[in-house]
């Protein structure tokens, strides 16, 4: 599929994933350029325990700064923020991070919907959201909001995802800007603001 390059520059990239998404992240991260001009937020479903495992894994695969998101911290370009296990992560109008320990959404905390929805309102057409492999329908409502606010929706190709259900639900319910195989994602991200 041809890449769609839009006029508005990307001000934030959010990647959401569940089962089967770690492999994709580990494929993307080593290939990312070191001067990414926007913040990257990662929302991945996982157990409440083994807290820093994901952060440590991703840290070892990139020269970008990777940290577990702290509440009230500001998003900043070239930095990777990981939604902490067992908290929802929201983005405020001033681009700071709010954490929230409210009810699970789609059996998940962090929920991808929650982060996509709050970021959609803040970054509008300058937001890019990527939904990866997974086996529940989290992320779909969030992508609808991203579309409503004219942001860009990118979905992993369900046919090549380890767990196709989540990207499949997204493709069925949301008009994506582009559907990508995992090996094309790093390149897509690297060229977002070219």
């Amino acid at each position: 599929m041809a890449e769609i390059i839009d006029g508005s520059p990307c001000a934030a990239l959010i990647i959401g994933g569940s089962a089967g998404s770690l492999d994709v992240l580990l494929e993307i991260f080593p290939a990312l350029r070191n001067d990414i001009p926007f913040p990257i937020v990662i929302v991945v479903h996982r157990k409440a325990s083994n807290e820093s495992l994901l952060t440590d894994l991703l840290k070892s695969r990139t020269r970008l700064a990777v940290c577990e998101a702290n509440e009230k911290e500001f998003l900043s370009p070239g930095k990777v923020f990981i939604a902490p296990a067992d908290y929802h992560m929201l983005i405020e109008q001033d681009q700071s991070i709010s954490l929230d320990y409210s009810e699970k959404v789609n059996y998940s905390r962090p929920s991808i919907d929650v982060t996509f929805q709050s970021a959609a309102e803040v970054f509008k057409e300058k937001l890019v959201c990527i939904l990866l492999s997974g086996s529940n329908a989290d992320g779909v409502e969030g992508l609808k909001s991203v579309n409503n606010f004219k942001g860009r929706v990118v979905i992993q190709n369900p046919y090549t995802a380890i767990m196709p259900y989540m990207p499949q639900q997204a493709v069925l319910n949301v008009e994506p800007h582009v559907i990508l195989d995992s090996h094309n994602m790093a390149d897509y991200i690297n060229k977002l603001n070219d």
Binding site: E71, K72, Y87, Q93, S98, D100, E103, V114, Q117, S118
Partner: protein, 272 residues
């Protein structure tokens, strides 16, 4: 859930109404979170217009009770973050045990799970008889639940695991009796608790404590309000007393943080 059913100005209007009509000030809560809570409730209760929602919140006292309960987050757990409770058991409470009398404030206690967890640890350290736990919340209806000490039985497996991981050595089921779908906790535990409404935004210090526990409450406040609440706690903690926060909360940016010393790796600070 439609995330853009209510816009930012409407949130502002609603929260101003709530302050003027009911006296609760949510204007310094983290905006994205409170907006999400409001939008969620609007959807849950099938309102068809913002005007109808606003009118109901403003004029229907019964509905306002629900509003208050639903826009504040009342998700909590017993022995949440077991390593935190382990540190309370090993590092904090034994020190307080040297005092003749222990006063503890659980601020924002919601339905009481943390207060009961604390009471269990105190009991096992033989300190409960000389302790008093003040459990407060903004919300009268969650306090009614907390007083009863009854929690859904379905969560007890998780709580029991948390308890064991936190260094508990007893059979957790000795602390409650199963009653249909609820676990009723031993009355000796809440005999040392005082439940009362207290609004961290508008109410003042009401006593001096050796330990204040306030976990996953401040994440819903903006930075200025967080600092006000830290000042309130500072006025309510004795010298060498302790302040315990949630796993993602921190004193870090508060100007008086230098006067507190972190206890090991946990979110517990000791006033110097």
């Amino acid at each position: 859930m439609i995330s853009d059913a209510i816009n930012n100005e409407q949130v502002e209007i609603l929260l101003n109404d709530v302050l003027e009509t009911h006296g609760y000030d949510f204007l310094e809560y983290s905006h994205a979170s409170i907006k999400r809570r409001i939008t969620r409730l609007y959807g849950l209760d099938n309102f068809v217009s913002f005007a109808e929602f606003r009118y109901t919140v403003k004029t229907d006292k019964q509905y306002f009770k629900r509003f208050l309960e639903e826009i504040t987050v009342n998700v909590t757990e017993m022995f949440r973050d077991p390593s935190f409770y382990k540190s309370l058991r090993q590092d904090v409470l034994p020190v307080l045990g040297t005092y003749p009398f222990i006063r503890i404030w659980v601020a924002g206690c919601s339905t009481g799970e943390e207060a009961y967890s604390l009471a269990i640890v105190l009991k096992e350290l033989n300190l409960l008889s000389k302790s008093l736990i003040y459990a407060t919340d903004i919300n009268p209806s969650v306090l009614e639940k907390a007083k009863k000490g009854m929690f859904p039985l379905t969560y007890l497996k998780q709580y029991s695991e948390n308890y064991l991981q936190s260094g508990g050595v007893k059979d957790f089921s000795t602390y409650y009796t199963a009653n249909y779908s609820l676990a009723k906790f031993d009355e000796s535990l809440n005999s040392k608790m005082i439940f009362s409404t207290h609004n961290l935004v508008s109410d003042h210090s009401f006593n001096e404590f050796q330990l204040i526990l306030c976990r996953n409450v401040l994440i819903y406040f903006d930075k200025d309000l967080q600092h006000k609440v830290f000042n309130l706690f500072d006025n309510s903690i004795e010298k060498l007393g302790y302040l315990a926060l949630g796993s993602k909360e921190s004193l870090e940016f508060w100007p008086k943080a230098k006067e507190y010393k972190r206890v090991k790796m946990e979110k517990i600070w000791r006033k110097l």
